[in-house]
Point group: C2
Chain length 158, copies 2
């Protein structure tokens, strides 16, 4: 049987920007991330869902740092775009399972979600790829979440 | 200067499930993906945003296949969970930029979004990792989107 999951990781210094109900039209995210980049803000993950009602929700994480600058450029751009509101949240952590071929391996994500659920850790954001499944959770849950995922995948053994 | 982007890819056979307003409580996604897995449905990407109002929006893609089975298990689980509605959409494509170290390289995502914006391609979902930035778009935009991204990153040259 393949060993698919090779490790887990925890990131505690991050700020999440949640943009609710931005206009779901071409050019919107190009403009938003363009001004964020011009302000020299380094973006970590980007997640977008469409609400299929003319609006979309975009979340992105940045390294802790100058949230004041971030707010200025994002709020200004949302005004120009004529829609959407921004919530800034720094009381977070990102717990990840790292491995290879994780999509073909059905059940890896479910196992991670189950481990967090058993510890009553609420999952706020999810982002997946072949090599990483990440969940954003409350900072207070960070250590408990890491332990739970570590145990669920037997990562303690060499 | 680093060559960060090594290629782009297009996936045209996928179905997206958009779950709007699911209860934002521990155990919810563990249950949803558990029943999806039990029905032998292979999940591709999972994206979740929190609405910070007690509900969350979860999108996931599956290989084209038995959407009928998928609907049965998902609709049943949402009823049990007491909240949320599901939209199933197969008229989609996923265009991706593939590379390494793409997060440190500010501007790769913005460049991709800009390329799609100039072609008036609407981005419905976004998911990013260090090795891949993926955008879900309308199937009708697939070829135009791939060409635009290919050109933006000069991928035609050997
Ligand atoms: C919401 C945003 O992604 C928009 N659909 C765009 O293409 O830019
Ligand atoms: C919405 C869903 O992710 C929920 N927050 C959970 O932890 O399962």
């Amino acid at each position: 049987e393949h060993i698919v999951v090779s490790g887990c990781a925890l990131k505690k210094d991050l700020t999440r920007v949640t943009l609710k109900h931005v206009p779901d039209q071409p050019g919107v995210v190009a403009q938003i991330f363009s001004v964020v980049g011009e302000a020299n803000i380094v973006v970590d993950d980007i997640i977008q869902n469409t609400m299929e009602d003319g609006t979309a929700n975009v979340s992105f994480t940045v390294e802790h740092g100058d949230v004041a600058d971030l707010k200025i450029v994002v709020d200004k751009k949302l005004k120009e775009l004529g829609g959407g509101s921004a919530i800034y949240d720094a009381n977070l952590a990102k717990v990840s399972v790292v491995g290879v071929g994780m999509k073909q391996s059905t059940g890896v994500a479910t196992k991670m979600f189950g481990a967090l659920a058993r510890e009553k850790v609420n999952i706020q954001n999810i982002s997946t790829s072949e090599i990483r499944i990440s969940c954003i959770i409350a900072k207070a849950d960070a250590e408990k979440a890491l332990k739970a995922v570590h145990a669920a995948f037997d990562l303690g053994k060499a």
